[in-house]
């Protein structure tokens, strides 16, 4: 007991004496995402976007005269890994803030530790609507987001299928993860608002390699389109499965239909799939061109196509938002950074949009429903689905004011 007390005291003294001098060196930022496994094309692109932004900021002297230091952790898209990493980032790495989270389930499981420790988190990819609502009952909330939440994406998917393409009978195929289940609920709600009940709602598991039963149910219910909520590998099995039973219907789904492992694995079966995108790899502004060129030069993606352009762009922007908040707070204190994020005075020039007061105390989502556009898989990459959007691609879509 005595020894343990002495050890603890020694540790406290060491921490007290070490942290100020150490903190003066760098500002540590946790970066958490799945860098391996089925979600890795999103995780790796997000990480690379984050690293690119950090490199640019450090080249200009960093923030508050200090360099940003990323602490990279692979959560393997597993909830329990995410929890361990959150604790490690807070307790051992003593990060100032954390960006990342690709998988809604991992985000929901992990971010409570940051909320308790009063350390801001910017979700830059995960889209589950619940993510920014998780601590709605608490006076201050530390979870922010700059990705398009499902409550935005689902109505876009529904409107694309029902209003624009004129389908009356649609089937929903969603996976059994938190992401798929919550997304499916949002989709059912969005369709109900248009007076449409899906003719079939089917589930599949991560790792399923045969979708025949699901697709046949959709087929015998005479579905005219398949609406999806899943991730790359299984989405590819759906596209390939339709080819196998010679029943090809349009796929419209959440933004994950832009994942490289979907497009690569489904190959020509992925053609024509449509999904909401906050960012299309199209150098239509100088800012975007500089970002895309730097990314391609630094990470040399296959054929010059980013594995997940949306993740890379949102990852990149999340760091600039955070840097702006730390600059405004003139401090690395979590609570002061939160306050600064909720009342960001400087306009942040990102690649998705230009952020003008992106957050408030009540609203922790930077993206509103006017920002995403419909993307379409064409020739192995994601392009604008509508010519009109492509032509106006260089107009920056700003967040709607209430």
């Amino acid at each position: 007991m005595k020894i343990r007390f002495q050890l603890a005291a020694a540790a406290v003294i060491a921490a007290l004496s070490a942290s100020p001098s150490h903190a003066a060196d760098t500002i540590k930022i946790g970066v958490d995402g799945p860098f391996t496994g089925g979600s890795s094309s999103m995780g790796v692109s997000m990480r690379d976007g984050v690293l690119l932004a950090i490199k640019e900021i450090n080249a200009k002297g960093g923030v508050l005269g200090r360099k940003l230091e990323p602490v990279l952790r692979d959560d393997e898209a597993k909830n329990e890994r995410g929890v361990q990493i959150a604790q490690e980032l807070i307790e051992r790495e003593k990060v100032v803030a954390t960006v990342g989270y690709i998988n809604t389930g991992v985000a929901l499981a992990s971010q409570r530790f940051f909320q308790e420790a009063k350390i801001p988190v910017i979700n830059n990819v995960a889209t589950g609507t619940a993510i920014t609502q998780q601590f709605a009952d608490q006076p201050t909330r530390f979870v922010f987001r700059n990705s398009a939440r499902d409550a935005i994406q689902a109505p876009m998917i529904a409107s694309e299928a029902i209003d624009k393409r004129g389908f009356k009978k649609v089937a929903i195929l969603a996976d059994t993860t938190n992401y798929g289940k919550l997304g499916k609920d949002d989709l059912v709600k969005a369709l109900a608002a248009k007076g449409i009940t899906p003719v079939a709602i089917e589930q599949f598991n991560i790792g399923d390699v045969d979708m025949t039963a699901q697709l046949l149910r959709a087929k015998s219910a005479q579905a005219e389109a398949i609406l999806t909520y899943g991730i790359g590998p299984e989405l590819a099995q759906i596209a390939n499965g339709m080819a196998k039973i010679n029943w090809k219907k349009p796929m419209i789904g959440s933004w994950t239909l832009s994942m490289a492992n979907f497009i690569e694995t489904a190959d020509k079966n992925s053609e024509g799939a449509r999904m909401p995108q906050t960012f299309i790899q199209e150098p239509n502004t100088q800012r975007r061109k500089a970002f895309i060129d730097a990314y391609v030069k630094e990470y040399k993606p296959k054929n010059g196509i980013m594995p997940s352009p949306v993740s890379a762009a949102q990852g990149y922007d999340s760091i600039f938002l955070l840097a702006a908040a730390i600059t405004q707070a003139k401090s690395t204190d979590g609570d002061k950074i939160r306050e600064a994020l909720e009342n960001l005075n400087a306009k942040v020039d990102g690649v998705v949009t230009t952020y003008d007061h992106p957050f408030s105390a009540a609203d922790h989502d930077a993206i509103t429903d006017n920002i995403p556009v419909m993307g379409e898989v064409k020739g192995g990459r994601v392009v604008y689905a509508y010519q009109a959007d492509a032509e106006k691609g260089s107009d920056i879509r700003l967040k709607k004011k209430k």
């Binding site: 391996t36 496994g37 089925g38 890795s40 393997e76 059994t176 089917e202 589930q203 599949f204 790792g207 390699v209 045969d210 025949t212 039963a213 699901q214 046949l216 149910r217 087929k219 015998s220 590998p233 590819a236 390939n240 080819a243 196998k244 039973i245 010679n246 492992n261 690569e264 694995t265």
Partner: protein
């Protein structure tokens, strides 16, 4: 009707994959009374080695024999490291632990060599589906069914018509008597492990274009095939085929008529039922263990 036919076809493809792996379980069980619980991993290694060979520019049809040879070597290795020591000390359960341990090691090695992502194995055949009555079957699916039948017939022919194969059968019938007749039963057991991993590796290359290739592809297939081996009977090659088809088709039919959330349930219910009613399996021979 076309729906049922379509379900039967895709169920049969999956079922034949289960059957080939289950067949591998039977081969080693017959000679030594032991099983390789890393059968799914043998399949996974075969597929990944096959993918690397394929990417080196070798034609798909040559990849099959190359991966099979690799599988055979891997089977020898498993027997040598995992099973022989346990048999030597007449341990009842040592081989269970050691084959599971080896399976985990193989999976980790594969993760480190090929990464944790699922990789695409390009299909050597056209992916335009063939009309089959009112249903469709993709050419690679047909190749899976055909290949599975061929490899099982080949192993059966080997056992029946070659002197080595006859030694395998003799060992399977009565290990002690075979030993007294001058058959090196230890070598025969090693051979049966090689044959069993060979079939698994062959199956791996065969199904890779249909599924995806990755370090985690073996685990659930190995487990389902184990259920098939129990359902069909551990001593009947034909039982493996029947068991595979029953499980494969049951999964698809339940998925369609009940709910796609319950596809795994019927197989396991069937497994429990068989264990209660016919513990030796649908086509297995009941053996009396004399104590």
């Amino acid at each position: 009707m076309d729906i049922l036919l379509q379900l039967a076809i895709s169920g049969a493809i999956v079922g034949m994959i289960y059957a080939v792996i289950a067949f591998g379980y039977q081969l080693t069980f017959a000679t030594s009374g032991t099983l390789n619980f890393g059968q799914g991993e043998a399949l996974m290694l075969g597929a990944l080695v096959g993918l690397s060979v394929f990417n080196a520019g070798i034609s798909y049809w040559w990849v099959l024999p190359i991966a099979s040879v690799f599988g055979a070597l891997q089977g020898f290795f498993v027997e040598w490291v995992g099973v022989r020591p346990a048999m030597k000390i007449k341990s009842e359960f040592g081989w269970i632990m050691s084959t599971i341990a080896l399976a985990i090691i193989f999976k980790n090695v594969a993760e480190n060599i090929w990464g944790r992502d699922d990789l695409r194995f390009p299909s050597p055949l056209s992916d335009t589906p063939i009309t089959f009555g009112d249903a469709y079957i993709d050419p690679m699916g047909l190749a899976v069914i055909g290949g599975a039948v061929v490899i099982m017939l080949a192993v059966e022919a080997f056992n029946r018509f070659t002197i080595l194969g006859k030694a395998v059968v003799a060992t399977a019938n009565d290990r002690d008597a075979a030993g007294l007749m001058g058959i090196n039963t230890r070598w025969v057991i090693a051979l049966s492990y090689a044959l069993s991993s060979l079939t698994a590796a062959f199956a791996g290359v065969l199904i890779a274009p249909v599924t995806l290739t990755g370090a985690r592809m073996g685990a659930s297939l190995g487990l389902k095939a184990f259920a098939v081996a129990i359902i069909g009977g551990l001593s009947s090659g034909f039982g493996a085929v029947i068991g595979g088809l029953i499980l494969g088709i049951a999964e698809k039919v339940t998925g369609f008529y009940l709910s796609t959330g319950y596809t795994d349930v019927p197989g396991l219910l069937l497994l429990l039922l068989v264990l209660i009613i016919r513990p030796a399996g649908l086509l297995g021979k009941t053996t009396i263990k004399k104590v």
